[in-house]
Amino acid sequence: MWVFWAVIGRVGSSEAGRGSAEDARVDQDAVRRMARHDADALAELYDRYARAIYSFALHIVGEQADAEDVVQEVFAQAWTQAPRYEARRGAVAAWLLTMTRSRAIDRLRARRARPDAEPANEGQLRELVDPAALQDLGLLTRDQISRLRSAMARLPVMQRVVIEMAYFEGLTQSEIAERLEEPLGTVKTRVRLGLLKLREAMTESRI
């Protein structure tokens, strides 16, 4: 039955109802108001993105309680960093999801008992090198995301595995190579080929 409500809910949601440029403007306006300590603006942002953030966090950490904590940390961080948010660095959705991955993987790493871990890599995972890395996110259509999802399922399993390990498990190439007992070069190649295939699937019928 939840599917019914999900479908109904989506009719009025931002993804279906507005263009992405309009979404981006509304989001940025909310962040500006958050910088002026407007709690309603945070609530608006929560209503638009809590589902995407929670789902992403849950996929990484795998436990509901941890995923809830991640959502809380992300919005707390968004609230305190709102005054320093710069629109030109990327879409608000991208900013939130970057923080989500970072917080979720920190949690995963803290939980993971890895006696062989290098101390330098332990503890906090750095933020994405360039916050603009996800800047296209706001422009992805639901159709592209669904094509990406099915392309991911069709990838050769070892390509999919290395991508999942890197992105959702937060492992570095050396850690992946070690886990799979594969040479570093193989891991590198698989990640790149897999992503290129996903890119192709995502863009093939882009209008």
């Binding site: 609530a43 589902r51 809380q72 707390a76 989500t100 996110l137 992805l140 991911m152 190439q173 995502m202």
Partner: protein, 273 residues
Amino acid sequence: MSATHETVHEMSGLYVLDALTPAEVAEFEAHLAVCEACRAEVAALRPVAAGLARAVPQVEPPAHLRERVIRAATGTAVGGQGGASPDVRTSTPSVAPWLLAAASLVAAIALGWYSVQLRGRVTALEGSLQQALTQASLAEAQIADAQRTVLEAQSQVAVLAAPDLVRIDLMGQPNAPSTSARAFWSRSRGMVFTASNLPSLPAGRVYQLWVLTASGPPISVGLLQPDPTGGLTAAFQTPPDIPPPTQVAVSDEPSGGVPAPTGMIWVAGKPAA
């Protein structure tokens, strides 16, 4: 350091997925500054990395989380859910009380007019509801399909990412010299089994996967369903209390499988020391 262009170039995928160490990032960024092709590839791959965040199965957060998150971030409580309220409210709830008040005051004609209006509205709403239900059942089928695929993929990934992973390479036996297979086993997460060139079996026979241990009889892991080329990759649950495998083997058995192996062994192997 002294990596060739080809090697550095290959790092683009790991770079957009944030799977490089700080030193590797520095190396790759130095290369990016001078390599137009790599810059273009990074730009092309970034939306894919971004899309992965949204391609995960969507799960509704619990309702209580909203209040908790907003209170924790801002130190204040905030009013009701933004999405649902203003537009939806204009219909029935505001009409009905007005209608009740009007009924006591105005003539039956007015009442009749309203009932026609309302009936039209109900019909229209029924239409939308029907449409929504149709969409929902379509979406449900798609979601179920997607979830199946994702669960399968997730279980494979979960096994392969397990900290207690053991790899077992299997060799084709004399009856299947070109067959090869590999099993990844984790006590906590199960087994991923991948094989290629399994010969096709006569009708009524299936491949069955077994774990042999130092004590006790062979344990059935499951039945294998190779594709037409004899290849497969599949994830299986294994009992958490089994002793470490001393050998993994595949035999052919009657359809439906058997509790203990009876048929010929096609591939078998032992864990690496």
